[in-house]
Symmetry: C2
Subunit: 332 residues, 2 copies
């Protein structure tokens, strides 16, 4: 195990297959190359490492990384300058868009990998306010504000005009009914909403309700922001060749969303072939949830070559998630 750790660490640092001799020399192990060779044969037996060809050194397999991550790696705390950088980067963000944009940049910069950040999901968050305002007598703007600071707005053309007093009634009833409620509960809450209004305005109210539901439900978890794709190309020529499929995969929202998965608190690491998407078989993904209330309403993470520095990357992802969560709680 000690040897597996050394192999992983050395390979991550040098990006070259590591042989028994250098291993003994570089890691101050008090055993001879020959012993290491014996052990390496055993590790290879177990499928934890392979050699690209007979006379090359060994490199870890996906399984090798898995064991390393699960049992061998020790958390590497961030350096104080890094902590400060994180702090600085977020302060001064003016709205949710800004927070998310800064976060994804930050994450890419700190980890030197591709960073992805999901917008706080509306589904799990709750209504802070719903605003209905008339741009014209037959043209409304609906604004839905969630407690995560996320805002959705939609413009709606009515068939029949609506006067200001009717609008005010809609507004107050709507807010009375929904503020503080989970967005997921909106369909149930608004089911009979229309019926409490006079018949002649019902078509308009129906339209309003359906737009609100659309804002709340349909386009909810779709938004993902990505940054640092140039880091993909930086990682040495051998990774460079496989860059195209990865870029391709990263352009599909669906793939990204599947990567991020359900927002859960704990940190998840998926390594190489553990990924469903074939295009990402040469990459690993580290994700974790974040959210203003302490429990996760969205996910952020990084994507990099399987041969990345897991301890450092993981602690960076964790740290950024914590900072953003705190920032969302305090500021927005």
């Amino acid at each position: 195990m000690e040897i597996l750790r050394a192999i992983v660490e050395d390979y991550v640092a040098t990006h070259e297959p590591v042989g028994s001799k250098v291993l003994a020399a570089r890691h101050g192990l008090s055993i001879s190359p020959a012993t290491i060779r014996n052990e390496m044969a055993a590790l290879e037996e177990e499928g934890l490492i392979i050699q690209p060809h007979t006379s090359a050194g060994r490199i870890p397999t996906d399984l090798g990384y898995r064991v390393f991550v699960d049992r061998l790696s020790t958390v590497k705390p961030l350096s104080p300058p890094e902590r400060r950088a994180i702090d600085k980067f977020l302060e001064g963000a003016v709205d949710l868009d800004d927070v998310v944009a800064r976060t994804v940049k930050l994450l890419a910069q700190v980890t030197h990998q591709v960073a992805i950040v999901q917008y706080p999901s509306l589904k799990r968050s709750s209504v802070r306010h719903i605003e209905v305002l008339a741009l014209a007598p037959n043209r409304l703007m609906l604004v839905l504000i969630a407690d995560t600071g996320r805002v959705e707005q939609r413009i709606l053309d009515l068939v029949t005009d609506m006067n200001e007093s009717a609008l005010a009634e809609v507004r107050s009833k709507l807010n009375g009914l929904t503020v503080g409620q989970k967005l997921a509960a909106l369909p149930a809450l608004l089911e009979n909403f229309t019926k409490s209004f006079p018949r002649e305005t019902q078509p308009s109210i129906d339209a309003i309700v359906s737009v609100i539901l659309e804002m709340a439900i349909e386009r909810n978890e779709e938004r993902v922001v990505i940054s640092g794709t140039s880091n993909l190309a930086r990682h040495a020529p051998d990774f460079n060749e496989s860059v195209h499929p990865v870029l391709e995969a990263l352009e599909e929202q669906v793939v990204l969303l599947r990567l991020l998965g359900e927002a859960v608190d704990e940190m998840k690491v998926r390594i190489g072939h553990e990924q469903e998407d074939k295009k990402l078989h040469s990459t690993s993904v580290i994700t974790t949830g974040y959210g203003p209330t302490g429990d996760a309403v969205a996910t952020l993470g990084i994507i990099g070559p399987t041969r990345m520095d897991y301890p450092t990357s993981m602690s960076a992802v964790g740290a950024v998630a914590r900072y953003v969560s705190r920032f969302l709680q305090e500021e927005i």
Copy 2:
């Protein structure tokens, strides 16, 4: 000139230096290879083409492409299926975010290049509505809606509470003063706004005004969306190597904004070294303005290798810009 056109077209199609023999064969020119060789020597003299090495064919220089674009290329109209694709892609967009997101995807897909789309700038657009609403007695949300459909919102904490009637007054005065006005005119319009309110509310009003100005001015033209970066890697190995600096450049908002430049109606093509940014010396950029009112309030365009198919790309960029402009006018 006829020969230059043939060289450019052939090189764009094959990505290989083109020699005199194939040129004569493939383009049905009724002259012999020897004649072509003489002419090519002349073209090389003028700096329009070069040969990578003595016994290779010729490839166009940046200047060669420039001449081709300016004087030799004929507009290639889009095929009906392409037109239909463009139409389909945009219909069903629900808000400005959605329109921009779809547009950039569409552009990347149609041109097979990297697409960039700037959000309609607030600066040149005008106020459709300003909404001030209280989330709590000392917590306001300000929403600024532009006639381009763009919405900015900001949350503002007040030091002293504000009651609903005061708020209503602010709201109506604010809208009366600003609706229909250019955003650029807001600072002048709101200069003395605070003074028409009783002294005790003035600090709050000041805060509101400054946030509105911030929304209107400071963060205006900054948003750019990009898509299709994977297309960079697709373009053959020789371009592939220089992909990293390009990706890097594309991550900097500043660079993108400089690329897009001032929104002007006409189409601009910048080829290779005509670009300021060194990282983009192997790429060309095609941009054009778009906007709902017919004159340009923002820019969109594509970035690709200098050896791209200019006629087709240019007409695609133009078509998308026209469609989006029309869509913005009709729907938002």
